[in-house]
């Protein structure tokens, strides 16, 4: 078997991508019991750390997100996924705060993941990569913060899987988190969400090009399976109302249905496009590992089934945000977190934003979301005596 990675799939070396790298030599003990390392953390920073080192915000990305929160994506060239928030004078004001966004462990944008080379074998890790958890991702982020000599984060913020990381941060390192903003998240992955992830994983595994996970070594790529996984997942990120508003039953470049299995409907065409563009930028095995990490997430389980215990004695200020039309992480899940925080006598705000944009609303321009975040962060900055933005 060839030990070389096919140039076809490895030509855009992660080494060439913009941003910072930290190589951690000291092995890290993972939840699965393995000591893992050395490993690389790929991250981006925006703004300047103040002399007190008190203005740092950690931005946690979602399942298929990356560290390029406010930079063009190195593969697709598309704007950063939170560019509307992370900018000078923005809600996450780069003139006021120092923002850090790192690719998660298991990812495929430079942080060590299943597509990277296992130094022991010289081959991609593939399925020999250890199964990781949200807590492992957060442990890795903590190493980065230690390296940057940031003892206390002004804020940890993120949506979806990013929200899981935020909650894990607040639970694991309460003294390092002044403010925590989990958006469209939950303290555990629901049965329905595990089910959706399983559909995606099975689509990938069923693709003959997946080759038991060894596709990179064999110069292949399970693009069809990964695309189907993305299409199924993408539906869960929207809402029935939004799909109806955007597409209805409109036909795609035709006047009538074709009595075939072409993409007659605009919504089909849209989903196919979502699937086919996704495979250019994402690794199938990464998708397996990261969805698994989300499935395993259950913050209460780490504390004998008591969610309030996960936040016992916390002094962090929380702002929980959900969206009315989000059926993947519905408001009830956020409210559970709110109740647990109340039971822990924590300082908590909770806002449900009315929108038909579904789960994806956290990535979109939602004026009420922006206003809420701005107000919450300003209030926190006042309590932390952070200076106002230069303007």
């Amino acid at each position: 078997m060839s030990t070389l990675v096919s140039p076809c799939f490895r030509s855009r070396s992660v080494e060439d991508w913009p941003g910072c790298r930290l190589i951690v030599r000291q092995p890290l003990q993972l939840d699965c019991g393995l000591d893992f390392g050395p490993f690389t953390i790929a991250y981006q920073t925006y703004g300047t750390l103040n002399p007190d080192r008190s203005n740092a915000i950690l931005v946690c990305h979602a399942l298929t997100g990356d560290q390029y929160a406010a930079d063009p994506h190195p593969i697709t060239g598309k704007p950063g996924w939170w560019e509307t928030l992370v900018c000078p004078g923005g809600v996450l004001d780069t003139e006021r705060y120092f923002l850090i966004c790192a690719n998660v462990l298991g990812g495929c944008m430079g942080t060590t993941g299943p597509q990277e080379i296992d130094p022991a074998t010289g081959e991609p890790w593939a399925l020999s990569f250890p199964v990781i958890t949200i807590r492992d991702m957060v442990r890795v982020q903590k190493q980065l913060l230690d390296h940057l000599e940031i003892e206390s984060l002004f804020c940890v913020i993120g949506g979806s899987m990013g929200a899981m990381q935020v909650l894990q941060w607040a639970s694991s390192y309460p003294d390092s988190v002044f403010a925590a903003v989990p958006i469209a998240g939950a303290a555990r992955h629901s049965a329905q969400n595990i089910a959706f992830h399983e559909v995606g994983r099975q689509a990938i595994i069923a693709d003959p090009d997946w080759c038991g996970g060894q596709y990179l070594s064999l110069g292949r790529k399970p693009v069809r399976g990964l695309a189907v996984a993305r299409m199924a997942a993408h539906i869960t990120y929207l809402s029935e109302a939004a799909l109806h508003r955007k597409f209805g039953r409109n036909l795609q470049d035709r006047r009538t249905v074709t009595y075939g299995f072409d993409a007659d409907f605009q919504v089909e065409s849209y989903l196919r496009h979502q699937g086919s563009t996704f495979v250019d930028r994402f690794d199938a095995n990464s998708y397996l590992y990261i969805t698994r990490a989300m499935d395993y997430f259950d913050l209460a389980a780490e504390h004998d089934g008591s969610l309030p215990s996960a936040f016992h004695g916390t002094r962090s200020r929380f702002c929980i945000i959900s969206f009315t039309s989000d059926w993947l992480f519905p408001t009830a899940e956020s409210r559970e977190v709110v109740h647990a925080l109340n039971a822990a006598a924590a300082n908590v705000s909770f806002v449900e934003i009315a929108t038909d944009n579904g789960h994806d609303a956290f990535l979109l321009h939602e004026p009420e979301l922006f206003e809420t975040l701005r107000g919450f962060l300003n209030g926190c900055a006042e309590h932390r005596s952070l200076s106002r933005s230069r303007s």
Partner: protein, 237 residues
Amino acid sequence: MTASSESTVLSFGAATQATVGTAAAVELRQDLRLIAEMIEPGSRVLDIGCGDGALLDYLAREKKVDGRGIELSQSGVNSCVGHGLSVIQGDADRDLEAYPTGAFDVVVLSQTLQATRQPRQVVEALVRIGRRAIVSFPNFGFWRIRLRLLMTGRMPLSHCLAHPWYETPNIHLCTIHDFVALCDEIGVRVERSVTLDRLGQPYSLDPRGSLANLLAEQGIFVLCGSRRESDPIAPRS
């Protein structure tokens, strides 16, 4: 708030407390001003039905209070959080259970009790999670209300009760005597009471006397649980 047929009627619901963040000269509703006066500087306060956060904002600025709020209306919550207040979307019936005993020095329920589904459980929860509770509500025994019902035979509308019967959120109206009787029944001690006349002027009438029940348009009560089993947890610095 729904528009009333009487153009002069002031709606007294939670969503119209005052405007948040108008710096020093915050104009508080009269009953909120009286409530604010009852709260010690630096205490931990939960304001249930906090509206747009006028009381919390005032307390944070003027009394350095560590304040939290619960508000039903989404616009109220968003406005509060947008102004830096710690407020959750929720209501008194559903969201008090989670709070630990003695979590707050003071729990405020202003002009909201009559809109709860389970007023009795709510009052019990108030004195459980707060060392003290301050409750204000419109007095249905007020002479004008009695007179209006007697003379017109129609459901009364007043300053405090601005909604017609078919769309009022006020589903559990009571008189001052009713409220005192409830407190007696569930072993809640009335530490202090203030009655307000139609112009919002405070009087110290005995809430058990018939004058208060007749002359007060609103009552403000400071309550505490008399059967407290353990001392409340100390507020964290």
